[in-house]
């Protein structure tokens, strides 16, 4: 078990292990208890416009019943306070799922700036979140009588054992999958039902370890490592989560200026050319020995069976995909190839 944003979380489950759990998600189905994630409701007249004036992505790109990846940036620096999923409901309501450790700060910032008629409500402990991910995830949902046919990034409210259950076609693994939001009293029953019904499908409960290797293979950033208040979306290849032509959102001025000038560093993927496994904070150098930056996420890829990393590297070096760099792995220079993430092509649809 590990402390994660104040929550006790399993790294891996007994009888499983990171690699087994990882492969279950790539080849069958895995279930994650990610109830630590924040839940925030923003509602009241003008709530959708308000979220669109503050968070980075453009809610005009989706309609009610759809979800969107978005960023809460610092209004002065454009640095990322948190990355989150916004669920657009009808009737001027947006439901946000921020990271556990940042939920309080997101609520604080949104509350502080909100007009009087808009309510920003922290529902962190009112719902659980259970992620069901993998090529057999749809089959598992159907076994529980839940709707499984939604398009990627859509959601629906279903009934399960007499209560509402939000079924979202979202995830953090790159596989076809769902994130289920039961009320807090239903979370454990739902977890047990999924593991029971999934026996024949090869289901495995999965911990934070597999969650990290799966998302790293996809090049999905983790806040606190690849995104942070010191790292902007322009540096972290998250430009796609910014509505550039919106007249207003937090950090707009700083981000537009950085985009026009070109970022001074960029998040690249690195692929180990030998057996070395890169880890966060390891120093990356050019083959000539010039320091280029640091690894922000690094692990062994169970799918590719090679060490992989995300690294923030100086733009001065003019790096391109295919170039070679050297990572200092505990005093030993390990050659790695620069790639554009993901390391494993996603199959979210």
């Amino acid at each position: 078990m590990a402390d994660f944003g104040g929550w006790d979380m399993p790294i891996e489950y007994a009888g499983g292990g990171v690699v087994k759990e990882h492969l279950a998600v790539r080849e069958a189905v895995g279930v994650f208890d990610v109830s630590h994630l924040g839940k925030v409701a923003v509602r009241g007249r003008g709530a959708v416009d308000y979220v669109n004036r503050t968070l980075s992505n453009d809610l005009r790109r989706i309609t009610p019943g759809q979800a969107q990846y978005t960023l809460c940036c610092d209004s002065a620096t454009g640095g990322v306070i948190d990355d989150l999923i916004a669920y657009l409901h009808g009737g001027d309501a947006v439901f946000l799922v921020p990271n556990a450790a940042n939920a309080g700060e997101v609520v604080r910032r949104l509350s502080l700036a909100a007009p009087a008629q808009i309510e920003v409500r922290d529902l962190h402990e009112d719902y659980g979140v259970v992620a069901v991910q993998g090529p057999r995830s749809a089959a598992l949902l159907r076994r529980l009588g839940l709707p499984a046919d939604g398009e990627y990034m859509s959601f629906a409210v279903a009934r399960w054992r007499g209560h509402d259950l939000v079924v979202c076609r979202t995830g953090y693994t790159g596989e076809h999958g769902y994130e289920l939001l039961p009320g807090r009293t239903d979370a454990i029953t739902l977890w047990d039902a999924l593991l029971d019904a999934g026996q024949e499908l090869g289901v495995r409960p999965c911990g934070l370890g597999a969650r990290d290797t799966l998302r790293t293979e996809m090049g999905y950033p983790l806040h606190g490592q690849d995104l942070s208040p010191d790292i902007t979306p322009v540096q972290a290849r998250c430009e796609w989560a910014v509505g550039w032509d919106k007249p207003e959102y937090w950090g707009r001025g700083a981000l537009l200026a950085e985009r026009a000038a070109g970022p001074h560093r960029t998040l690249w993927g690195l692929e180990s050319l030998e057996r070395a496994i890169p880890r966060p904070h390891m120093v990356v150098r050019s083959t000539e020995g010039e320091e280029l930056g640091q690894v922000t996420s690094g692990t062994f890829s169970p799918t590719r069976r090679v060490g992989i990393a995300l690294a923030l590297l100086s733009a001065r070096a003019g790096l391109a995909a295919g170039d070679q760099v050297v990572v200092d792995v505990r005093g030993r220079p390990a050659p790695m190839r620069v790639v554009k993430p993901p390391f494993v092509s996603s199959s979210v649809r």
Binding site: R61, T63, Q66, E151, M153, E239, W240, G243, R349
Partner: protein, 173 residues
């Protein structure tokens, strides 16, 4: 480093052909549209491929066309069919190409341009909803392959072309 081959990706209606031609006019680079690439790759036009082998054959032809597009002699600009990103191998191919630019449009813009979606069976019976859902579902794939994003909603084709040229300049420095 000289200008790379610019590959325009994005949903149908994002303006890949219009902007591609505008780029060619401004720069003198050659422009090759998808129909031409399909013809070079298979010897047939897309409607001929569709008639002979159905949608699956057309997808295969578009993959072939993409192979032609990435190996065009630079400088050149080409439009990539909207659905190419659904294929893993095609995404891998696009990701290793340096000049991929995503012409990004909001669903309302796409709906206005695509209209009734006549002749596009996958948009029926409700093209507006279909386009909105497709756009959200494909976003992650376009983001995965693009080296730069140009938002086209409030831009003329000329302005969008200039924005692409600027973006390409910044990553081919």
């Amino acid at each position: 480093m000289s200008a790379p081959v610019v590959l325009l990706v994005g949903m149908m209606g994002a303006g890949k052909s219009t902007v591609g031609r505008a780029i060619a006019e401004r720069t003198g680079w050659s422009y090759v549209d998808n129909d031409e690439l399909v013809k070079r790759a298979t010897g047939r036009t897309p409607p001929e491929v569709l008639a002979a082998g159905g949608e699956k054959a057309l997808r295969a032809a578009e993959s072939e066309a993409l192979r032609c597009a990435v190996s065009l002699r630079s400088p050149a600009v080409a439009g990539v069919p909207g659905g190419v990103v659904l294929d893993r191998a095609d995404r891998d191919r696009l990701r290793s190409a340096p000049g991929v630019v995503w012409l990004r449009a909001r669903p309302d813009t796409l709906i206005r341009r695509v209209g009734s979606g006549a002749g596009r069976s996958w948009l029926q019976p409700d093209p507006a909803t279909a386009i909105t859902r497709l756009a959200a579902a494909r976003e992650t794939y376009y983001a995965e392959v693009a080296n730069a994003i140009v938002d086209v909603d409030d831009r003329t084709p000329q302005e969008a072309a200039q924005a692409v040229i600027t973006a390409v300049g910044s990553f081919s420095r």
